[in-house]
């Protein structure tokens, strides 16, 4: 049975088609979901893609987090459905309180695009189980408001419970506290991160690697992980 992965399009979503392509390349069936509806169309997992939903003028992700479909996404996530938030999707998850903390303007003030090295800190999640703990991967990062902040107590709890899913390696591109690039929730079904795995799924269009330019496909594992998980369930 093919696994069906929903990709939500909000007004201002940009990487929705890329996320659908990534789902397809991983062997699952992408299903387009619309922000204004309450219908999850019976999908097995959900991706909240990157972009600038509603222009991100208020706080990144803030308005999208209050859209009709998010009521369903929040319920589904609380019920255990795998949900991945990429960049703006991560911001939406945070604004929807599915993950703690907040994302603010990069400390240097500018939008930045770079091929970013990450360390996988937690493989106990629906979207990271295909990695090995401590594995270093390279996937593109592109954001203006990617600085992760939370108070010290929250940060300590995240560390203590192993909920930091990804950390920036070599360069902290946006001033994120404790180099946090991505988080998972306690249950492991919800994962959010600033870098873009869906831009590292197809050789020729991904980040540069030592082997060849634009050959990086480390992002594919996110999508194959959820496939494996969904098939097992």
């Amino acid at each position: 049975m093919t696994v069906r992965v929903g990709v939500v399009t909000f007004p201002g979503s940009l990487d929705d088609r890329d996320a659908m392509r990534a789902v397809r390349l991983a062997g699952a069936e992408p299903v387009a979901l619309w922000h204004g509806e309450h219908d999850l169309k019976g999908v097995d997992a959900i991706v909240l893609p990157g972009g600038f939903s509603y222009g991100d003028y208020l706080r990144a992700g803030a308005i999208a987090a209050r859209s009709p479909i998010m009521a369903e996404v929040i319920d589904a996530a609380n019920g255990g459905m795998p949900v991945l938030g990429i960049c703006n999707g991560f911001q939406i998850l945070v604004e929807a309180h599915l993950l703690p903390g907040g994302l603010i303007r990069n400390d240097h003030g500018d939008f930045i695009r770079r091929d970013q090295k990450l360390r996988v800190e937690s493989t106990d999640s629906a979207w990271t189980n295909g990695f090995t703990a401590g594995q270093e991967i390279v996937i593109p990062l592109k954001n203006g408001e990617g600085g992760y902040i939370a108070d010290d107590a929250t940060l300590d709890r995240l560390e203590g419970e192993g909920l930091v899913a990804f950390r920036y390696v070599d360069v902290n591109p946006n001033g994120s506290l404790r180099d946090i690039a991505g988080l998972r929730n306690e249950r492991g079904n919800v994962v959010g991160l600033m870098p873009h795995p869906e831009h590292a799924v197809e050789a020729g269009f991904g980040p540069d690697t030592d082997l060849a330019m634009r050959s990086g496909t480390d992002g594919l594992t996110f999508f194959t992980s959820v496939l494996k998980q969904s098939v097992l369930n």
Partner: protein, 606 residues
């Protein structure tokens, strides 16, 4: 406006009124019209223009919209063409953007345009709205925009004003392009004090479409509805119109009319998706973006290119600022708006699509066969013109030209006169100085702010010599683009300089493995009223046209930007040339960098 002071009720200057008061003084000169141009308008109409008509003529006959000084020269691009150059051309010069067949049922449309002056006044918004404008040109052809590029010229890198202009321009381009989700796949950055108070911000957009999706901007079909959709109309960019407003208002009229426009890339992104859905569902007959000259331009051009007549009710325009006068509404340059021609039977479906995307829409009027563009406001007829006299048959000038007297001396003063390095260390110091110059420096401070990953089809981008985009995911068909210019060569010899820019862009595209197929250009020059500048312009156009004929690729469109000068000092002539090439499979692309150890290096050419 606060409620306390009720806005004065503007008295519309009606057509009847214009007939009744033939001798009323009109501020045509303050609107940029010359006395003979104003006289010409009076002759065309057989009476004085209403202030609304004067607003329309003044913006549409401006250099920017009418190409009145450049037209006689630009004709060469259409004349110096061979069959080879026509072979792939689906839409040539004169439309919003040219369209080129790239095979497999696909076509590509691309164009480069300037936003120089606004970017000096307000770098962030000026550059941002420059990207927004060129992208709307691409959408209006029926294409999905797939990438942008930017060619930039700044003053001295260590000048304090460059520290204001450069970060603003770059973050404006970054903000708008990134929010639209269009990969930025390349461009140029150049520093020279001649651009100090007149930076150049040229933005390019490229879009892809299936052959059958091609749309042209025309208003055909009597009874078809004329619909305005997108952002509301506000007082943006109508500094000039306030002259008319103060003429119309007896007193207490609006005074605060900003010359700058603020862009909303989110609104434009939604507009793109909305337009593409309208095309897909076959709900529009013709479509036109609103840029400079706003509704004046869109109505007169749509009507001119179609059945020739249109009747519009200006009260139906949704306003952001209800105090706008008719003249201001006609001239407003509010961003993120489009005008469409829609069959009445499809209007409901059209409105359903715009509602789905939360895009505000209003029906302004309809297409007629009267040959007249008639505009009503507050129940009165305020415009009644032959639209072609506004949009097409404007004034054309054969401006005087003169080869600059200083040119020979400048050419004679060559590098040969400079002292040679006397020893190795001096040579080393000179080489390092050249390599350390800002124009050789790594551009990543700029390019790192641009997203080239979005859409997932970018095969080449910075730091490669050309950008490359996959158009068809199944077949791998793609296009490569490069932009180049060198103002210093053009200052020495505008004919050869333009050809060098063309040759460089052509080489940059060819070096990726793509076959160069078409050209767009943005011609940045000083004042056309300066005979030396006009000579430079004519020579550059001739050089470019001859070069294109030689290389066998047509100019499909572009943009002329005059009046780039500080005081009386013009910038170096800077024709920016963009070349687009086709590659059957992007997997066969060649990047600029070395890929593996042990590869051999060859130097080709002379």
């Amino acid at each position: 406006m606060s409620d306390a002071v009720a806005p004065a009720i503007p008295q519309p200057d009606t057509v009847d009124n214009a007939i009744a008061t033939p001798d009323k003084h009109q501020p045509y000169d303050a609107l940029g019209l010359k006395a003979d141009e104003y006289q010409q308008i009076r002759e065309i109409l057989g009476r004085r223009p209403t202030s609304g008509e004067l607003a329309m003529y003044s913006v549409m006959w401006s250099e920017h919209c009418s190409y009145k000084s450049s037209k006689v020269h630009l004709r060469q691009f259409g004349q110096k063409v061979s069959d080879e150059m026509r072979e792939h051309l689906m839409v040539g010069m004169g439309e919003n953007a040219g369209v080129v067949d790239i095979g497999e049922g696909w076509a590509v449309t691309f164009k480069i345009e300037s936003h120089n002056h606004p970017s000096y006044i307000e770098p962030f918004q000026g550059a941002a709205t420059g990207v927004g404008g060129i992208v709307r040109d691409i959408i209006s052809m029926g294409a999905r925009p797939v990438a942008v590029m930017d060619a930039l010229r700044f003053g001295a890198i260590d000048h304090p004003d460059t520290a204001r202009v450069l970060p603003g321009v770059v973050s404006g381009i970054s903000f708008y392009g990134n929010c639209l989700g269009l990969p930025n796949i390349g461009g140029e950055t150049w520093f020279d004090p001649v651009y100090q108070a007149n930076p150049l911000v040229n933005a390019l957009a490229v879009g892809a479409l299936r052959h059958e999706d091609l749309h042209l901007a025309n208003a055909r079909g009597v009874g078809n509805k004329v619909v305005l959709f997108g952002a509301r109309t506000g007082g943006d960019g109508i500094g000039g119109a306030s002259i008319l407003a103060s003429d119309t208002f007896s007193e207490g009229g609006p005074t605060k009319r900003p010359a700058v426009q603020v862009g909303d890339p989110f609104a434009e992104k939604v507009l793109i998706e909305c337009c593409l859905e309208l095309y897909r569902e076959g709900l529009v007959e013709g479509i036109q973006d609103l840029g400079a000259a706003g509704i004046s331009c869109a109505t007169s051009e749509l009507a001119s290119n179609g059945d020739g007549g249109m009747v519009i009710d200006l009260d139906a325009v949704l306003l952001r600022d209800p105090s706008l006068t008719a003249e201001e509404i006609l001239m407003s340059e509010s961003q993120e708006r489009m005008m469409a021609v829609v069959e009445p039977s499809k209007l409901d479906a059209f409105l359903a699509v715009t509602a789905k995307w939360d895009v505000e829409t209003s029906v302004l009027g309809e297409v007629t066969d009267t040959g007249r563009l008639v505009i009503h406001w507050r129940g009165e007829k305020i415009v009644d013109v032959d639209p072609r006299t506004v949009a097409v048959d404007g004034p054309v000038y054969n401006r005087p030209m003169q080869r600059p007297e200083w040119l020979d001396a400048l050419n004679a003063d060559s590098a040969r006169a400079l002292p040679r390095a006397s020893d190795d260390s001096e040579l080393r110091a000179q080489a390092l100085r050249v390599l350390g110059g800002p124009n050789q420096a790594d551009a990543s401070l700029i390019t790192n702010q641009y997203d080239y990953y979005v859409i997932g089809n970018t095969a080449l981008a910075m730091p490669d010599d050309a950008g490359m985009i996959r158009i068809d995911e199944e077949s791998g068909l793609g296009v490569a683009l490069a932009t180049d210019a060198n103002g210093r060569y053009c200052q020495l010899d505008p004919y050869a300089g333009a050809q060098l820019a063309l040759a460089e862009a052509y080489r940059n595209v060819a070096a990726t493995g793509a076959n160069p197929r078409a050209v767009s250009d943005c011609l940045n020059f000083g004042s056309p009223e300066n005979p030396e500048v006009m000579w430079q312009f004519a020579r550059a156009v001739e050089g470019l046209a001859d070069g294109c004929l030689e290389l066998g690729i047509p100019v499909t469109g572009g943009n002329v930007s005059f009046y780039n000068q500080t005081g009386d000092v013009p910038i170096h002539p800077t024709p920016v040339v963009a070349v687009m090439g086709v590659i059957d499979h992007v997997d066969r692309r060649l990047p600029s960098g070395w890929q593996d150890e042990g590869e051999n290096l060859y130097l080709l050419g002379v």
